[in-house]
């Protein structure tokens, strides 16, 4: 039987959220259903600038396969993307462009900062490198490493999935969220 096969293997299907089950219906809160749907079909926007971009290409390739987490379809258009993955050093010349790409993304949006350079400037403590993208945009998950191994990147994606699953659907319209965005100068 299928359930026996699933028990013996280590395939982790998405389990249903807590709710009330009955003949022909399943009642749970809308938050949870939307959370599961969003978390398992992320459309990432790969903002690859340097070496971490090559490790991202290795993560997307067949050996480490990010597609099994639902993030198969890369979107290079900010409007259609959910997750902005900033991979690589962001120089001060690139900062305004990153901010513009972030503001063009439609809500809900999450940001994953991959690598030491995007998280804090990395080994480049110089006059031309932005010391971390959280100077200009709010970041949800940081993945350290130089470059991080593909397993670490997948760990970061899983953490993003946890964040997405547990997020309330009213979060983006709350005043605290707007205050936080205002601190970065984003309306």
């Amino acid at each position: 039987m299928a359930s026996e096969v699933l028990e013996k293997s280590n395939i982790d299907l998405v389990s249903s959220p807590p709710g009330i089950e009955g003949p022909g219906f399943f009642a749970t809160s809308l938050d949870k259903v939307i959370g599961i749907a969003r978390a398992n079909s992320i459309w990432p926007l790969p903002f690859a600038t340097s070496c971490c971009g090559i490790e991202f290409m290795a993560t997307m390739a067949a050996h480490y396969d990010m597609g099994r987490f639902g993030a198969e379809r890369l979107s290079f258009s900010p409007r259609q993307a959910d997750l902005l993955m900033v991979m690589g050093t962001i120089a001060k010349k690139m900062g305004p462009i990153l901010k513009q790409v972030y503001t063009q993304m439609a809500e809900p949006r999450w940001v994953l900062s991959m690598g030491a350079c995007a998280s804090s400037g990395g080994i480049f403590d110089t006059y031309s490198v932005l010391q971390g993208i959280d100077r200009i945009i709010p970041v949800d998950v940081y993945v350290p490493g130089c470059p991080p191994r593909p397993e670490q990147v997948l760990d970061g994606i899983v953490k993003i999935q946890e964040l997405i699953k547990n997020e309330s659907i009213r979060r983006r319209s709350r005043p605290e969220y707007k205050e936080m965005l205002a601190k970065y100068g984003i309306e």
Partner: protein
Amino acid sequence: MEEQELLTSVETKLRENFGDAIISAEMMRDFPVFTIKRDKIVEVIKYLYDEPEMEFRFLTDLCGIHFPDNKGKELGVVYHLHNMPKNWRVRFRIFFATEDAVVPTLTTVFSAANWMERETYDFFGIVFKGHPNMKRILNVDDMVGFPLRKEFPLEDQNREDKNDSMFGR
């Protein structure tokens, strides 16, 4: 041809045609290095390009250098030339003061010098007279100061998240 022979043959040819523009000619490791007067550098390189026995037709590299201790000759530009068929490599250096950092451009001889000169301008503030597009290439356009001069600090002085005392600076 051995490097020492190359040094003497190039030096003789240059001294015949340019005389006092050659300040010095020496061997540094395996490279013949010539120090030239700044205003003759394009003529010297064009001569080496055209002269049938020299034929240095490849510009390997062009970079700047800053010696703040040599008063009057602080900034410099270093050219590496290469004669591919015979595999000869030479280096030319010119030096001049910071207040008068103007050098004739090499883009008339080599198109490769275009971006290399822009990079040297960006890093040292050396203006190349006659360059088609003399503006910064790697740094932000409105940057003040020239980063690779020795007095310019490496770190961004306005960053708040790094504690200099912990980093041994």
